[in-house]
Structures are given as structure tokens and as C-alpha cells.
Symmetry: C2
Subunit: 199 residues, 2 copies
Amino acid sequence: MSAPLLEQLIDALRVLPGVGQKTAQRMAYHLLEREREGGTRLADMLAQAMERIGHCAQCRDFSETDLCPTCANDSRERSQLCVVESPADRLAIENATGFRGVYFVLQGRLSPLDGIGPRELGLEQLDQRLAQGEIGEMIIATSATVEGEATAHYLAQLARARQVRPSRLAQGLPLGGELEFVDRGTLSHAFGSRNEVQE
Amino acid sequence: MSAPLLEQLIDALRVLPGVGQKTAQRMAYHLLEREREGGTRLADMLAQAMERIGHCAQCRDFSETDLCPTCANDSRERSQLCVVESPADRLAIENATGFRGVYFVLQGRLSPLDGIGPRELGLEQLDQRLAQGEIGEMIIATSATVEGEATAHYLAQLARARQVRPSRLAQGLPLGGELEFVDRGTLSHAFGSRNEVQE
Ligand SMILES: [Zn+2]
Ligand SMILES: [Zn+2]
């Protein structure tokens, strides 16, 4: 019998993606042997983040505040709205491109079999925003997967119904690829040469 | 600008071994999106473990209590002492073999260039234990690396000086291999066919 607290720590570490029993064990020993301060800091950050990070009321990205820094920033261009699947995709575009507009984060993509429909993606909220008339172009940056394309198709219809011009990142994204893992250069190029979506 | 707290969490996650910026980011998003409860539990376990897990006064293994459960267990055979490099190695032997004796955890191996000598490995404490006369056999389970072999040689001398019979895990461990990562069967076989160390 090892110390129960150590076993509980190893068990708790397995909540991390891609971390099995063996890796969790190595992580626990590493922290105990060499990184007590770092482990304590991680505990503190985790506790605060799980408690305090919610979603931006406007774009649904993760945020500690009611409005995220991007939405609260008056110098962002409000006529361009970029729709992404996830916060990680938003961050990838922000880091790779010179985009100065605003975002909308779906937190998923249409997947009827998994029970993910327009409601789960906040599309009513998005539609209300389109209806306000401030947005001229909706850049659809969903992934180049089957579900991402279906979602893009749906979003383009939504945009047209509100007289907003929909565009889609240029082909060049690897087929079937998750946008989050595309390299910077490819992503930047695809973003720059986006095309208007045809009927 | 992302939310600062999220950035701090991502930064804090990089204290984990093998976790770079990209993986830390994925972990943070995963917890926020799907595992808030698990993340909170992990924070709690980490905080408790970093604070409360120390070392067993007798064997130097990790322990929440002054004596670890193994050292405190009266049914363990005190005439056999198994010396290992790390808590992970101790756990691997405990899980793979039927060993019912007790352990001593070096928390390292002799490495003069890194300033790790007999003092850092608690060898005075080990020598005192050998001097008490309770131990008949010292099973040296250091790794099959150059430093592990040098440590084994030193330990064997220590044992003989106290009329304790030193033994070494049987050859069969992959050369240069870290004991912690050896498969169960190989480890169990090597443990079972350990040999007395010759002068
Ligand atoms: Zn926002
Ligand atoms: Zn102990």
C-alpha cells in the first residue's frame, strides 16, 4: 500500500487529456521530488481558473470578466465577425493573422447525432447580433471536417438572411484537419485569401 | 489578449514533465470545457499532496505519516531489505513481485559530477540500519545504468562490512534501461532470479 493521498493525486491527474496511469504516476513523483512550489502554484491556478473563468457574454470565449478583453476593446473592428469552433481556434487565428475584428465562439460544431444543434452553439444569440446591422462580413472559420463544413453551410445561410456577407477561409487547410493544429503559415495564408461563399 | 488567468493556468501546467505550451493549452481548454469538477478535484489533491506528503523516517519513500504503511506493517519480513533508486521503482517491484520484505529508497544514485554522494542518498542512515543486525539480505535493485551499477557496487561493500549478504537483480534487465519502465514480467523474473554479489 502506497500513501493513499499519493494514489488520490495520481488518480486526479488522469483527468488531464492523454494522461494514463503511468504518466500520471510520473507526473506526481516529478512534482513531489523536484517541483513542490510549481505544484502548489498549479493547484492554486487550477482552483482559481475552474472557479472564476466563465464565458464572455458577447462572444462565448472563455473570460474571467463579463466581456472578454477583445469584446471590451473599442479599437477592434466591429464590422468583421469571425466565427470559430473553439477558444483554441480563436487563439490560433489571433496569433497567426492580423485580424482586427471580433469573434464568435461556437464551443462546438453542428452534430445532430451527438445532440448538438443550433441552440447548443448559441446561434440564436449570433443571429440577434447579425440582426443589429453592425456586421458587414461574417468570416466562417470552422474546421475543414465534414461537420465543420455543414456548420459553415448553416452559418452562411444565417448570414445571408440578415444581409451579411459570409466568407470562408481559403482552401489550403489540410482536408479533415483540425484548425487548431494547422501551422501558422498555412493558417495565415488561408485566412488572408478567404473567399465569399457562393449560393 | 486572452484572459490573464487562463494564461497563468497554461503557464502553471508547464511544470508537468513533458508538457509544453501547446499541450498545456489543450489541457487547460479541456478542463474548462469538459472537466471543471475534475479540475477542481485535481487542484485540491495537488495542494494537499504538495503540503502533506513528506518522507518516511525509516525508508525515505514518500509518506503522509512519519512511517509509511509498509514500514509500519508488522507482517513485513524485516530480514530482507530491498534498496531502490526511487519511489516509482519501489512501486514497480511491489506490484510486479511477491516481495514481502522492506525497502530503502535512495531518492537518486551516486553521481559525483552532479554532487550526489553517499550523504545525499541517506547511506549513513542505511548503514545504521544494517548495523542493527536485523537484516540478513540486502537486495540491490538499482538500475542497470552505469551510475546504477556503481551505486550497487558501493552498496554491496556497505553490506559486507556489516555481515549482510548483498544480492543484485538477475541480468535480464535491458542494458541501460530505467527500472521503472521495465515490463512486469521481465522485472518479476529478474527479481526472482537475483544473484548473490561476488567479491
Ligand atoms: Zn468576448
Ligand atoms: Zn517506510
